[in-house]
């Protein structure tokens, strides 16, 4: 960022939005700065440090279980968020706690982790399993709400207009019988993962799966929902056999990346196993099938 000249420290959202709109694309938001620290962009002339805006720091749960999360919450804050509803805790908060090490988790922001979407970005994987909605605000266009699903289809950096800022993430309420998990496979606790999986399973009153989310991250260029496999689970009774069957099909629904850490074929196999485990864990949370499997009775 050799042409970087100025820093701004706005105290309110409108102030920040005004700076972005006037900047014509040369003024960028900075959250934790962990990605921008690596930036070589000659186009950025000013940075807007949004971490001092009080209106972006909230983590609230409504009476019905809906959550709203401010864009500058750090990964550490999310990892330690004690009031999170159970499924949010098991997906989003767990994912946040697996990111790199404490010095990074202390600064990486929710907004930065979403907007600067890398293959290894962990929070969007969990947010896809939670049907999260991102709130984008602009001094020119007002507010729009984009499902994380839509935001991650192309790339958030392409989807966001230069004058837009991600201000908060909304997580809808989940049914009472809902299970969720996030699993990561990495060489060490702080290394980039080989693969991550987030899953969510909702049950209806009859104990049948009413909705399901299966998301794969890290092994693919951007996190993806495996909708064909989700459909295989929906409408079924949760069982270890179903988890194994769905897991065995993962390889035909993703095009994994291969690199020096792991080959594409290895990652495909890994994702199969992780999806099976994730589903089993969700089933276990909602009906205790793993307990049945272990012969411990219903």
């Amino acid at each position: 960022m050799k042409n970087l000249e100025r820093w701004y420290y706005p105290k309110s959202i409108p102030e920040a939005l005004e700076l972005l709109a006037e900047g014509g694309g040369k003024v960028k938001v900075i959250g934790g700065g962990t990605a921008l620290a690596e930036s070589r962009s000659p186009d950025i002339v000013a940075l807007v440090d949004i971490t001092r805006i009080d209106a972006l720091q909230h983590a609230t749960v409504e009476g019905d279980g809906r959550c709203t999360l401010g864009a500058v919450l750090t990964a550490h804050h999310l990892a330690e968020w004690l009031n999170a509803p159970p499924v949010v805790a098991r997906t989003l908060c767990k994912a946040a706690g697996t990111i790199s090490h404490r010095m990074h988790r202390n600064v990486i922001t929710l907004g930065g982790n979403i907007v600067q979407l890398y293959a290894w970005s962990d929070l969007p994987v969990a947010l896809l399993a939670l049907d999260a909605v991102c709130v984008l605000q602009s001094a020119k266009n007002g507010t729009r709400r984009l499902p994380i699903r839509k935001l991650t289809t192309v790339h958030p950096a392409k989807e966001l207009l230069f004058h837009e800022m991600l201000t908060q993430v909304e997580i809808p309420a989940l049914p009472a019988r809902s299970g969720g998990t996030f699993v990561k496979f990495a060489r060490t606790e702080t290394d980039y993962a080989f693969a991550t999986v987030a899953a969510r399973v909702d049950l209806d009153g009859d104990g049948v799966v009413s909705d399901c989310r299966i998301v794969v991250g890290c092994a693919v260029p951007r996190p993806v929902r495996l909708e064909a496999l989700e459909a295989m689970v929906t409408g079924q009774d949760p069982s270890p056999g179903l988890a194994a069957e769905v897991g065995s099909r993962v390889g035909t629904h993703i095009r994994p990346l291969g690199d020096f850490r792991a080959s594409a074929a290895y990652r495909a196999e890994l994702c199969s196993v992780l999806v099976k485990r994730a589903l089993l864990e969700c089933f276990d949370q909602v009906v205790g099938v793993a307990a049945i499997e272990r012969g411990e009775g219903a």
């Binding site: 820093w7 620290a37 001092r52």
Partner: protein
Amino acid sequence: MKVTFMLNGRAVSYDARPDEMLLEVLRREGWLGARRGCEDNNCGACTVIVDGKTVLACATFAAQVEGRSVTTIEGLGDPANPHPIQRAFVDAGAVQCGFCMPGMILSTKVLLDETPTPNLEAIQDALDGNLCRCTGYVKVYDAVQRAAAALAAGEETT
């Protein structure tokens, strides 16, 4: 530009380029306790405390600490008057070449501020980003436990 912040309890105002890292500025101003190790997010030797939380000075823009409160190892204690955590590291034999120690000790400081009696898992998690190529960590974990005990026993802090 000028960056104005609290450093080890004193207000300072240092010159910095807008794209300059905190590590550069601290070292130029003589605060060599923030170590220049990998300069690439990996080793943790440049760890400093900003508003009560550890961060990597090599990956933090100096401008990000404007108005904030920064602590380097120099803010904890010195050879004549070491902080109980520093004394515990020496007593436990956790210091060999010493290069990683400022980061290790500052991470320990934040850990013990938040969790006065951490278990081994919490200690390992807190020191995850601080690499040491000498000790093999066993004595480091021992040192953190000694420090926790010393602080609990009310040893004087600086």
